[in-house]
């Protein structure tokens, strides 16, 4: 796998979430994603960046354009050093939330991505990696 481009953003405010959306859109366009695929990856990024801010207390996002076996994709890594998730299986369920949202952030972002990986340790933080292929 080759990394074609890499970009990092901090997520500390709700304006940063908007900036992440715009940066992801820009990269998706550069990689030649069609409009529906752009919309899906940007929406997934918005959900996960908000989680980083609200539940992780802020963190960072790495946006990478990648190529594997001649296919191009966008890989997004969301990292925070927040309280972590005690029960990942529960957190992945539609409608489950410990906050005030709809509980669609994680489960929705997974549906909008081709690959989804989550690592979290209570007290250590959370890392979510999603990839959408062109």
């Amino acid at each position: 796998m080759t990394v074609l481009l890499s970009d990092q953003r901090v997520v500390q405010t709700s304006e940063d979430v908007v900036a992440v959306r715009q940066a992801v859109r820009l990269r998706a366009v550069e990689l030649g994603f069609n409009l529906v695929d752009q919309t899906k990856i940007v929406t997934a990024a918005s959900e996960l960046a908000r989680n980083t801010l609200q539940y992780g207390g802020g963190g960072q996002v790495t946006i990478e354009g990648i190529e594997r076996l001649g296919r191009r994709g966008l890989r997004l890594t969301f990292e925070d050093k927040g309280p972590g998730i005690a029960d990942i299986e529960m957190a992945m369920r539609d409608g489950f939330t410990t906050g005030s949202g709809l509980g669609l952030g994680l489960s929705g972002a997974r549906r909008l991505s081709n690959e989804f990986q989550i690592d979290s340790q209570p007290g250590q933080g959370t890392r979510v990696v999603i990839t959408r292929w062109r």
């Binding site: 908007v18 529906v36 919309t39 899906k40 929406t43 908000r50 949202g101 709809l102 929705g108």
Partner: protein, 127 residues
């Protein structure tokens, strides 16, 4: 402070969202709109989202909340102009906006609002 403008047109309030809203801005719109419904005695709210490139769960919930709040305040809400890619993504995300009336464009939205308000006034007359 940054705000989304709300226009009054007869009995209706018209909101055209033209910026990529951050969450606090969306919350401010919700508060401004409910205050304005009460202040202007508006019977209908039309929200044009044709400029929005995405609707995530937060914006989706805001739209549903505005519809519910305006209903309690005796006004109807119609959301118009959703882009096809946004509609596809919203459903895949798991959000089908129950309780939110939608129309393809502003013109059809206006017609829908007028019809709904007429219906409600007729219902009130017979009660």
């Amino acid at each position: 402070m940054e705000r989304i403008p709300i226009l009054k047109m007869g009995n209706f309030l018209l909101v055209t969202v033209q910026v990529d809203m951050h969450d606090r801005l969306a919350m401010t719109l919700q508060e401004d709109l409910t205050s304005k419904i009460v202040a202007t005695h508006a019977r209908g709210v039309l929200i044009d989202i044709s400029a929005l490139e995405i609707v995530d769960s937060f914006i989706g919930r805001m739209l549903a909340d505005i519809a519910a709040m305006s209903r309690i305040l005796d006004a109807e809400t119609v959301v118009v102009g959703m882009r096809p890619a946004v509609a596809i993504t919203l459903v895949e995300l798991g959000l089908s906006l129950p309780g939110v009336r939608t129309a393809l464009n502003v013109e059809r939205g206006m017609d829908l609002l007028k019809a709904r308000i007429k219906e409600r006034l007729a219902d009130d007359g017979t009660a």
